[in-house]
């Protein structure tokens, strides 16, 4: 026992060398075709290939040395620390959380409310366009979408792979109704949500008999059908050209953000013209929508319907034996989730000023689902953190111009977004198999509120 945990012991080192070599061999064969050989087009437009042995050698060396160090030094070190801890008899459960930990939600909320002003103060008007729009609004849209999907997947345990369809319904509802009839954003926002919820029910009725994988496949198909209708129904949706010139949201009808109008926000307040005011306004709109989603989710969880959703995730047959109508329960979950997708869609349309079917591909559904799974199914905090990591990570990648120095001038960092996604997923699933927040808050308690460990909750089966 002690011999095997000692660093530098010949046994451990021999094992480390062996495993390091093994990892190197595997890496060699894995990367041989991907990295070792490169194809490109020459002047005559023919495809030729050349070898990159040097780069391949770097990959293999990293794998082999990494494995050697892990097995030979890092692992014995961790084991020894664990053993020392077990010997001293100190359990890792501490009742006193740090100040930051206890007030995390309040701090996060205050930060979000102050965020546009902080960025205005630090980087000025022009600079904060990027931080408010690309980071703030973009992340919050995904937070809202993921919280909406969380109701369906995280609470009710229904695997929905076509959630982006409801996002599309919301976006096109706003785009079409505002450009054909000229209705305002504040009227169409609730309407988009209701229309999306209606589509949720329409989808729900035929498919809710299905469970598990079958339900996932049909919802996937539904997402694609909506997209194909948007592409091919060119008379109404203008097909792949999309709908442009969608009206901006106004400040509750009081001030407009369109330049040239009499009640222009900038003129009314005597400010210098800049689009940053509109972005800041949009930031607060989506923040308010997110808060609404969170509030409704938290309230619903404590209502009988929310408990029925979670019970449905745990055991559908038991639900029916207790007199719960599982069909209406599933439908309400679908409709509620879809409604928030619809809200987010309407917001997306007004923010972009342009919608096309390209924004509603399957990949979007997968990204939203990945955020829900990474965050920990059912946990609002975890999902918000996951959205910041995943969406913010993508945006940060755009900023990393210095990577071009390392990988050469034709390196485009955002193309590696999916690689980041996969890497993040693997890392989180290795260390936190239940997502960032793996435990569940009970909705009622007699004496004390104890978090339910993720090992007891189920993922649902249909």
């Amino acid at each position: 026992m002690t011999a095997s945990t000692e660093t530098g012991h010949p046994n451990v080192l021999a094992k480390a060398v062996r495993e390091g070599l093994f990892a190197g061999v595997i890496a060699f064969f894995m990367f041989l075709l991907f990295v070792g050989i490169e194809t490109y087009q020459d002047i005559n437009n023919t495809l030729v290939w050349r070898t990159r042995w040097g780069l391949l050698a770097v990959f293999v060396a990293v794998a082999a040395v990494g494995r050697f160090l892990t097995v030979g030094f890092i692992k014995p070190h961790i084991d020894r620390r664990k053993l020392a801890k077990a010997k001293s008899g100190v359990l890792e459960i501490s009742e006193n959380k740090s100040f930051f930990h206890r007030h995390f939600l309040k701090i996060a909320l205050i930060f979000l409310v102050l965020y546009p002003f902080l960025s205005l103060m630090i980087v000025g008007k022009q600079g904060s366009l990027k931080y408010v729009d690309n980071f703030g609004i973009q992340i919050l849209i995904y937070v809202m979408l993921a919280w909406g999907l969380n109701i369906v997947v995280g609470l009710a345990g229904l695997l929905d792979l076509g959630y982006v369809a409801f996002y599309a319904v919301g976006a096109y509802s706003y785009a079409l109704l505002s450009s054909y009839f000229g209705f305002s954003f504040w009227l169409l926002l609730p309407m988009s949500g209701i229309l999306a919820a209606l589509w949720g029910i329409i989808l729900g009725f035929p498919v809710l008999r299905l469970r598990g994988d079958y339900l996932a496949i049909v919802t996937l198909a539904f997402g694609e059908i909506i997209r194909l209708v948007l592409i091919n129904w060119t008379d109404v949706t203008k097909g792949t050209f999309g709908i442009s010139g969608i009206a901006k949201a106004s400040f509750f009808g009081i001030w407009s953000f369109d330049s040239g109008t009499t009640n222009n926000f900038v003129k009314a307040w005597g400010l210098s013209a800049s689009s940053v005011y509109y972005k800041v306004f949009l930031f607060y709109v989506i923040l308010a929508l997110c808060m609404l989603t969170a509030y409704v989710t938290i309230r619903l969880r404590r209502m009988p319907i929310g408990r029925a959703w979670e019970a449905l995730r745990e055991d559908e047959i038991a639900c029916r034996s207790l007199g719960i109508n599982t069909v209406t329960t599933k439908l309400t979950a679908f409709a509620t989730g879809a409604m928030f997708g619809g809200f987010a869609g309407a917001f997306f349309a007004t923010r972009q000023g342009f919608v096309s079917p390209e924004s509603f591909v399957f990949l979007e559904s997968a990204v939203i689902l990945a955020i829900v799974v990474l965050g920990g199914m059912g946990s609002l905090t975890g999902i918000a953190i996951a959205a910041v990591v995943m969406v913010g990570g993508t945006e940060v990648l755009r900023e990393m111009a210095f990577l071009k120095v390392v990988f050469g001038p034709d390196f485009t960092p955002e193309l590696y977004r999916m690689l980041l996604f996969g890497l993040a997923m693997i890392i989180v699933m290795l260390f936190k198999p239940r997502g960032f927040v793996g435990s569940r808050e009970p909705t009622a308690f007699l004496k004390e509120r104890k978090a339910v460990s993720g090992s007891f909750t189920k993922e649902g089966h249909g």
Partner: protein, 292 residues
């Protein structure tokens, strides 16, 4: 009128709660239940026993709506005189309208919910109505708050009966096996049933837990709830049941008081595995007064 409701009395007298008539259930070519008729009386504990594969659980699944019987009529009479034809109700309507609750052979708890939450989910229909189908509840009206308080009181009552008050805030999946069995019964009782169907409640319990279960079942019966149970443990059956029905190969072979059934030669033959032609012999011995 709700589906499955009849107002005409179907030959049921007041003290019968459940009447099963000519029930048959076929799975493909297999006749799991063949022309079974039985009655459960109000306020009694009726036990359904029989060797493995006799069709006991199938009868349960027909009564509680998980299977649609191939043939037959299942009439349930509630205290207020309303009768329900169970084979015409959808599965979730049987607990909701007819007041029949059940437990499962392999425990089906909501393991990720706490013990208290399990009992609150069972009161779903009452709470849904009180919350105005969620809409009034979102506004936080006082009527809904009172309903919530009442539901927690009820949960506490059954927690106390099932001796689970100390574990109320723990996840149901964390309880030991015997406590999970008791919780499943408490959860079924929170739906306000008139007939409680228990599928092998004593399976896997040690003698002490088994005795505690007997006390719980007697308490439930004393509250006026009729019980129908499947059980293998003969000590439980003989001790607590008022009326025993014995099944073999989907047919009823004996029906009566525990003492009557215990001494029925056909039951002994079914349990001890006597060849068919020997049954006559056994009966003949019985008639000679050669009881063990």
């Amino acid at each position: 009128m709700a589906p499955g409701t009849t107002t005409m009395t179907n030959g049921i007298n007041g003290d019968t709660i459940l009447k099963v008539e000519h029930l048959s259930m076929k799975f493909g070519g297999l006749m799991a239940i063949n022309d079974l008729s039985l009655e459960a009386r109000r306020g009694e504990i009726t036990a359904l026993i029989g060797p493995n594969g006799a069709g006991k659980t199938t009868v349960f699944n027909c009564i509680t709506g998980f299977y649609k019987p191939t043939m037959g009529m299942l009439t349930l009479q509630r205290r207020d005189g309303k009768e329900y034809l169970l084979e015409r109700l959808r599965d979730f309507e049987i607990p909701k309208l007819a007041g029949v609750a059940r437990t499962f052979q392999n425990i089906r708890l909501f393991s990720g919910l706490t013990v208290l939450e399990n009992l609150l989910v069972a009161q779903h229909n009452a709470l849904m109505k009180a919350s105005g189908y969620t809409i009034l509840g979102l506004l936080g009206l006082p009527a809904y708050r009172r309903a919530v308080d009442a539901s927690i009181e009820k949960a506490k009552y059954w927690l106390d009966k099932a001796d689970l008050t100390d574990r109320a805030d723990d996840p149901a999946g964390d309880l030991p096996y015997g406590a999970q069995r008791r919780l499943e019964i408490a959860r079924a009782m929170c739906t306000n049933p008139e007939l409680l169907c228990l599928d092998e409640p004593a399976a896997g319990l040690n003698p002490r837990e088994s005795a505690a279960l007997n006390t719980l079942l007697h308490q439930i019966r004393d509250e006026g709830v009729s019980i129908l149970l499947i059980e293998h443990d003969m000590s439980v059956v003989m001790e607590i049941s008022d009326h025993v029905v014995v099944l073999e190969y989907g047919q009823k072979i004996s029906d009566g008081s525990p003492d009557h059934v215990k001494n029925d030669p056909r039951v002994i033959a079914a349990y001890l595995g006597v060849e068919d032609d020997e049954v006559e012999e056994v009966i003949a011995e019985e008639l000679d007064g050669g009881q063990r």
